[in-house]
Symmetry: none
Subunit: 217 residues, 4 copies
């Protein structure tokens, strides 16, 4: 069920044609940006951590911001869509018995995903306050939600009377915020020790609350 959960960054690294040194630069940047923040991380830090000369950092990336982009772009191109919208590969090909089944699946799935990609999410969370560009990219992604398979699935549940007849964005808002109420504390405190059992417990709690809140009475 969760076999496709993976570290999006590690995956995207392998798909590039970057030399091992350049890959090390990206990996070190991810670690350091995530831990110390983008501004507080110097290119010297990155080079040292990657075991590379400082000039090498600029061989593949135009500037420090280019490294940030190389980290966040695949995140925005892949993670965001998968988390909030693109259920074609999984959700689309799977039959859900009911709303509970559906919520349980996507919440657990996305929790594991988020924990796997904690580092990028931390970077993303810090950068979104400073980058209007980033905000717009997210807005655009969210804008496409209305037509994705997630929307179809939810509308199907509404038709079946399993789901309250609120507007789609508001439904997503509540699902997402309930999801985030479990994940954000982990992201902020940078905890590394969340077990799958814990995730399942959280999933149960989240789904219970959402079913309460989103089922027509």
């Amino acid at each position: 069920m969760t076999k496709n959960i993976q570290n999006i960054f590690a995956a995207s690294l392998q798909q590039t044609n970057l030399s091992p040194k350049q890959q090390a630069v990206l990996q070190s940047s991810l670690d350091l940006f995530s831990t110390q923040g983008f501004n507080a991380t110097s290119t010297k830090d990155i080079a040292q951590e990657a075991g590379v000369a400082e000039g090498t950092v600029y061989q593949q990336f135009k500037n420090k911001n280019g490294i940030l982009q190389a980290i966040l772009d695949p995140f925005i191109q892949s993670v965001l869509p998968q988390v909030v919208q693109d259920f074609t590969t999984e959700v689309g090909t799977r039959q859900f018995d009911d709303l509970e089944d559906f919520l349980t699946y996507i919440i657990k799935n996305r929790m594991l995903f988020a924990l796997e990609n904690k580092a990028q999410i931390r970077i993303f969370a810090q950068e979104i306050f400073r980058s209007d560009e980033l905000v717009n990219q997210v807005k655009n992604q969210l804008g496409t939600l209305k037509t994705g398979s997630l929307a179809h699935q939810l509308q199907e549940f509404q038709r079946q009377g399993q789901l309250v007849q609120w507007p789609l964005p508001r439904l997503l808002q509540f699902v997402f915020s309930t999801f985030m109420s479990f994940i954000l504390p982990v992201i902020i405190t940078n905890r590394d020790d969340v077990s799958e059992t814990q995730v399942e417990q959280w999933t149960t709690e989240a789904v219970t609350f959402l079913l309460h809140g989103l089922t027509p009475q």
Copy 2:
């Protein structure tokens, strides 16, 4: 009802013995830190914005971090307790008809509060990723929740059968995350145009969802 909603920063400014120039330094720092972030704001920026010589910035504040503290400390000492715990002044002296009345009151109240103090919240949100100290302070504040009047009020509703018998922290988690799902987008995009009508609309939506989710069925 919302007469005590205020800008916590403006209030704390007046209580200090700071000279007008020093107050200008703080105000400019608040604006700039909030807009550009702490790291991206130079002390030269602050001085210019405050119409003050750069040395003046260091007359009252030991260093740049001291300014940040002067901004965040009253926030943590006053805002946080008021938002999440200290209902003695308002909630404690007020009788609520039912859970709906209660939720409507605190959510609208806190929304207005958050919007008034958007700048500090933005700074806070950015800093919490980098400051373990900040995380701990928040943890401590949250730890005191169990015994505050908010807790008593919720337990009262549980006794009356209006509120599900979930543990207090989880109840608070869902209330808070629902609240944040409306506020965070405003904080992140730094919008300034939220009307009171909008706030009332959001309050209604949040309360509707929470009543659904938290009422025993």
Copy 3:
């Protein structure tokens, strides 16, 4: 014998018309300049140590250098002449049995004097490398040696055959360097624990060596 040995600075302080606060400024400056050096001592340091506002420092002294002058001037005007030349008050009015008696007297006397005024000597020693002015003042003082009572006394010993017939400057050079070989380590390490017994021991050793070296064979 050593009744007139005193702290030249304390003495000169009392002769000024400075207010108590201004005297405190001078005393604190002496302590701090001596300990940390002139450059490393800020006017803020001085003000704090003196328990005075920073502006007060500039009430009496034109600038920081003015404080240094107020410390070093009496030293150069009084200490230097007394150490190397002006024996009118003591030496001139005293009869010495022989060279040993003479050397014993001036060396012990000057050692006590130097230890009493260690702070100024430390400042002087540090400043002389940077101030050509200071060097010239010392040169001028040394230039007057040829005609002082010290010169007369030494020439008298030469006439009596107790003292080698070397040129006066060279005699003074050897006396002074032997004297300094005991005092300079104390000045440099800023020791405070030199007993009068120790001084007498050093005096004996210095005189023994000088009598060896300066007596015609």
Copy 4:
């Protein structure tokens, strides 16, 4: 006889792997520190004098103090031992006819050495007042004197009856202070015009005095 007299700084410069620019930084620092003092020399001064960007100064040296160390360390590691202790290379392999021969050799030799390395000695003399570390290093060097070949040589002269039976430290103290009485004025006034003839004259005068003072009567 004096063929190995050299500028210790120039020698140590060549032994490093520093780039020409970095060597220029060190050379300029030596000149400026020596002339103006460490505190009064800014890193901008150094960069300008060396014809280098200011950042370059920090490429090789951690901070301004690091430059000072790079100048003083070889001095303390090489000059001090050679001046006061390590006679293995020269003294150890040479036979001295008598005390006069010995004193003449080391005094002239060390005078030339000191004049060659006047700049570092000036810096050293200024820094020793402010650096306890430096004082300790010197103390340690002096502590090793008791066992060096210099000690052996002097004890040999004592056994032969050419040298008074005073304790070794006191003998060294008098030799050193007599030596310094000629050199220190040059160091302080930063004179550059001392001829070898002058050095030989000084040597003669110093040796004459010391033979007087240190020969048993």
